[in-house]
């Protein structure tokens, strides 16, 4: 029995941590090269991991586990690994650390991991040979784990009921916290004038393609805004990839327009439409979501007057687009920037250049 290949968490996502969301096979199942063997979640999307070779799979993680970039999460063997799996089936007494309470129950490796994760007393699960499904059923049934110490359990009157956030939301929070938690973020605002002779409908049509296109041009002039802070260094992105924060009832995703500065306005608009389509179809790929170097968050559809957007991981700034004020014939752009990378003067010049580019185009038409 030989390991042919290992499956690791890929580096092409911006998160340091991911969540294992689904295992598509069981241990020792035969898989073919390119079969989707596992789904992982990042703050931005769900990613399928493929088998790098034909063979027999062994998973090293379970659904719900956190994993880091580069971590080995599965192995592909050249032959049947049932012997290996049987070796790994532990007696529950060992697994629970209750050596003095021998039990006749055995659990599969997958089940064992779940049992340990949830701290379940294995004796409460009504099966002698415990599989993952048995543990899932046990967990769904909310049967008490047998822990008699309830001192940490508050009664329902002590605290309000909460709704647990998803693991991907946790990762999103972590990613967005990375810059914001430094306390070094500043935000500036400018108003963009729109042509007052236009109808209300025309005034409120989406300016997003134009803003994305002009942002890319401005980033060529102000490369510091297309950088990020890491370990006391400022790292400048080589490419200008504008990311668009999309949230149309399918969760927040940042869709990337690669090489935005090399596209004309029509091409940028086409890319945005393609991104929205793929977002709604849930077909965004990791590369669609993981390579943005600067983000635009557009809340104009929701009538927002102005807001402070949050800077994404490995970026220095983000633009917020607010709704058009039909009385004042203008809309607001906000620019939140990482003060460790740049300062107010440069940020103001960048925003001013962006404003000028957008207004020239709007008023020209």
């Amino acid at each position: 029995m030989k390991v042919l290949s290992e499956i690791t968490i890929p580096k092409d996502n911006a998160d340091e941590e991911v969540i294992i969301s689904e295992l598509n096979y069981k241990d020792n199942d035969q898989v073919k090269k390119s079969d989707s063997v596992m789904d992982i979640e990042t703050s931005k999307t769900s990613i399928e991991l493929e088998a790098p070779a034909d063979g027999y799979i062994e998973y090293l993680v379970s659904p719900g586990d956190e994993a880091v970039i580069g971590q080995v999460v599965a192995k592909i063997y050249d032959s049947d690994i049932s012997d290996l799996i049987n070796l790994q089936i532990e007696s529950p007494s060992e697994a629970n650390g209750k050596e003095n309470e021998p039990s006749s129950k055995v659990a599969t490796k997958e089940a064992q991991m779940l049992i340990e994760e949830h701290g379940i007393d294995i004796n409460l699960i009504p099966s002698d040979f415990i599989k993952k499904e048995d543990v899932d059923l046990f967990l769904k049934g909310s049967v008490p784990s047998g822990d008699s110490d309830n001192s940490h359990n508050l009664s329902s009157t002590d605290m309000p009921a909460g709704v647990a956030i998803s693991k991907s939301k946790k990762i999103e929070i972590k990613a967005l916290s990375s810059v914001q938690s430094t306390g070094m973020v500043s935000t500036i605002f400018m108003n963009i004038d729109v042509d007052e002779s236009l109808s209300d409908d025309e005034k409120t049509s989406s300016y997003l393609p134009l803003i994305a296109s002009e942002c890319a041009k401005a980033l060529e002039i102000f490369p510091m805004m297309n950088s990020y802070f890491l370990d006391n260094q400022i790292i400048q992105h080589e490419l200008i990839n504008i990311g668009l924060a999309l949230d149309i009832n399918n969760g927040l995703k940042v869709y990337t327009i690669p090489d935005t500065n090399k596209l004309n306005l029509e091409e940028v608009e086409g890319k945005i439409n393609e991104g929205i389509y793929k977002y709604l179809r849930k077909e965004l790929t990791p590369s669609d979501l993981s390579t943005s170097t600067f983000t635009i968050s557009d809340l104009s559809q929701y009538g927002v007057e102005r807001f402070v957007p949050l800077i994404n991981l490995k970026q220095a700034a983000i633009i917020g687009v607010s709704a058009v004020d039909l009385k004042l014939n203008r809309f607001n752009l906000s620019l939140a920037f990482d003060h460790r990378v740049t300062e107010g003067k440069v940020a103001s010049e960048f925003l001013s250049t962006l404003k000028q580019g957008i207004e020239e185009s709007i008023l020209k038409n």
Partner: protein, 81 residues
């Protein structure tokens, strides 16, 4: 199913997307005639029509739609009518 039946069904989808139960579209209707028919709502419209008819447009087709008649023709083509 002919284009008039498709138009009838698509009208209902328009009403839903643009939140206007009284909306009346015809073959000549363009984005200029419908309030809030911008690029975002256009994509939402396309996705809802695809889901309704269980068809998939090509992205090029979507980008080249000029009016509702184009949309109906596109649906008819994918339904092999």
């Amino acid at each position: 199913m002919d284009n008039s039946e498709i138009l009838l069904s698509i009208n209902k989808i328009f009403a839903q997307v643009f939140k206007n139960p009284d909306i009346k579209i015809n073959g000549n209707t363009t984005s200029d005639d419908v309030k809030n028919w911008d690029s975002l709502n256009n994509i939402i419209l396309v996705v809802m029509i695809e889901d309704f008819y269980k068809i998939r447009f090509d992205l090029d087709e979507v980008q080249n739609l000029k009016n509702v008649e184009d949309l109906c023709n596109c649906v008819a083509k994918h339904l092999d009518l």
